[in-house]
């Protein structure tokens, strides 16, 4: 016993170093798998506050671009108004075919919350955004996040007033998307090469793909409503060994100046998840 204590005393520095190294590595590997770590909630709150201060200044430099993107989004939505359509033939009647939020509460699947981006990185291999909306404002983990132009990412961590969003530009990010013409589904992910492009995989070669084709979200992902813009095909990477396309996609979202996002709350997500989990348990 005495020798054990002597050993610890003699090699205290090295053992202390090993312990700290071990703690750091366990933090890291745990976080890579489950996206949770000790003190993460508290630290998200603190770093969120500091980021908010910084964003208060940085925001002024982005005002013009933010305005432009919001105006463009407004334009797109305005073009869908019923009032734009008028037939010269009075026998023809136009009926608004959208569901009112109040009357359709039971079938309303997605509700949308707006949020301000207070921090955003693009330079790393694991990019995250911090948004100023947290648990107290109905944000939960696994919610989808879209921007004015297209999808942005998924919420991975929530504190009281802030939430961190795993960006589309993250090595572990995956989402099910589809081609707009043809509806073939594939998986979108980032290869870490350039923040300007992401990769779309698993589209069978039977699909017709051309440069400039639009890629939109699929209802399969269950985090996003269907048909939300993801990006456009920039290049078809030639690969003769596979039966699937590898497509280089230019994301619709400009990750360099994003200031506002929308958090999408799928009100039936828990129910679907529960059902799917219990099914997989039953089959085993």
């Amino acid at each position: 016993m005495r020798n054990v204590f002597l050993f610890i005393r003699r090699h205290f520095n090295f053992l202390f170093f090993l312990v700290l190294q071990m703690i750091a590595l366990s933090f890291l590997f745990r976080y890579n798998k489950f996206h949770e770590a000790a003190f993460m909630n508290v630290s998200t709150e603190i770093t969120g506050r500091i980021n908010e201060k910084y964003n208060g200044i940085e925001y002024y430099f982005q005002l013009k671009k933010t305005n432009e993107s919001l105006v463009r989004e407004n334009l797109r939505l305005r073009q869908q108004l019923k009032e734009n359509y008028e037939a010269p033939d009075s026998a023809r009647r136009l009926i608004r075919d959208t569901i009112k939020v109040d009357s359709g509460k039971s079938i309303l699947k997605y509700t949308i919350l707006e949020a301000k981006v207070v921090n955003n990185t693009t330079a790393s291999q694991t990019n995250y955004l911090t948004i100023h909306r947290g648990f107290a404002q109905q944000v939960r983990t696994n919610m989808g996040v879209i921007g004015p132009q297209g999808i942005v990412g998924t919420v991975v961590n929530v504190s009281e007033n802030f939430a961190t969003v795993m960006s589309l530009l993250h090595r572990q990010y995956k989402a099910v998307v589809k081609l707009k013409n043809g509806e073939e589904r594939g998986t979108i992910e980032w290869d870490g090469l350039s923040p300007l492009f992401v990769t779309l995989k698993d589209i069978p070669k039977s699909a017709k793909v051309a440069k400039g084709d639009t890629v939109v979200t699929s209802q399969i992902s269950s985090k996003f409503p269907a048909d939300i813009m993801v990006g456009t095909v920039f290049e078809i990477v030639p690969d003769n060994t596979s039966n699937f396309y590898t497509l280089k996609i230019r994301p619709a979202t400009n990750f360099f100046n994003i200031e506002y996002v929308y958090v999408i709350d799928n009100t039936q997500y828990d129910e679907q998840k529960r059902l799917e989990d219990s099914t997989s348990k039953k089959v085993q």
Binding site: F17, F27, Y31, A123, Q172
Partner: protein, 177 residues
């Protein structure tokens, strides 16, 4: 200004500069991540005990990690260089008792060549460990090699600029032993 206050201010400044300037820069290339923050550990005083040095390294790395949402990554690398630091200084110190007569490692206290070696070895060590941990999760061997070399080069350039811009005066202290 006392050493404790000076180092506390440096701690905060290095984290803020790394998070809000260097991490915010548009990426030049995927191999290049400009790291400067670990210079804080290189500038810590000589007279710290090895255990406290390791602990400071761990806390410093972890506080950066909470900003960059990579808990443990920078903490592991910082703990490593903080632990290795005394060995390197022991090997490189040229004058007898320079670590007693001066407060912290610098060009003045160690001399040009030993100080440069000290910085290069620890920078390389920091980047190798950091990128190795990143490489375990994703990436290829080329990514590992390229990123270590390119990031080390950029870090050394940044350290050189910092040393020239913020010249640290070091008084020669006598009667210290």
């Amino acid at each position: 200004m006392s050493e404790l206050l000076k180092n506390t201010i440096r701690f905060i400044l290095f984290i803020l500069v790394q998070v809000f300037i260097l991490f915010k820069m548009p990426p030049l290339h995927r191999f290049i991540t400009p790291y400067l923050y670990f210079l804080f550990i290189l500038w810590l005083p000589f007279n710290l005990s090895r255990a406290s040095l390791t602990l400071i390294g761990f806390i410093f790395g972890l506080s950066l990690d909470y900003f960059s949402k990579t808990p443990g990554l920078h903490a592991a690398a910082c703990t490593l260089i903080a632990y290795v630091r005394p060995f390197i200084i022991g090997l490189l110190i040229s004058q007898e008792g320079a670590d007693k007569n001066y407060i912290s490692p610098s060009i003045v206290s160690m001399g040009w060549a030993p100080y440069a070696t000290y910085v290069i070895v620890l920078t390389l060590l920091h980047h190798t460990w950091l990128v190795l941990l990143e490489w375990m999760n994703f990436g290829s061997f080329m990514y590992f090699l390229g990123k270590v070399v390119a990031s080390t080069a950029v870090s050394l350039l940044l350290i050189l600029l910092t040393e020239l811009l913020f010249y640290r005066k070091q008084k020669f202290r006598t009667n210290t032993i």
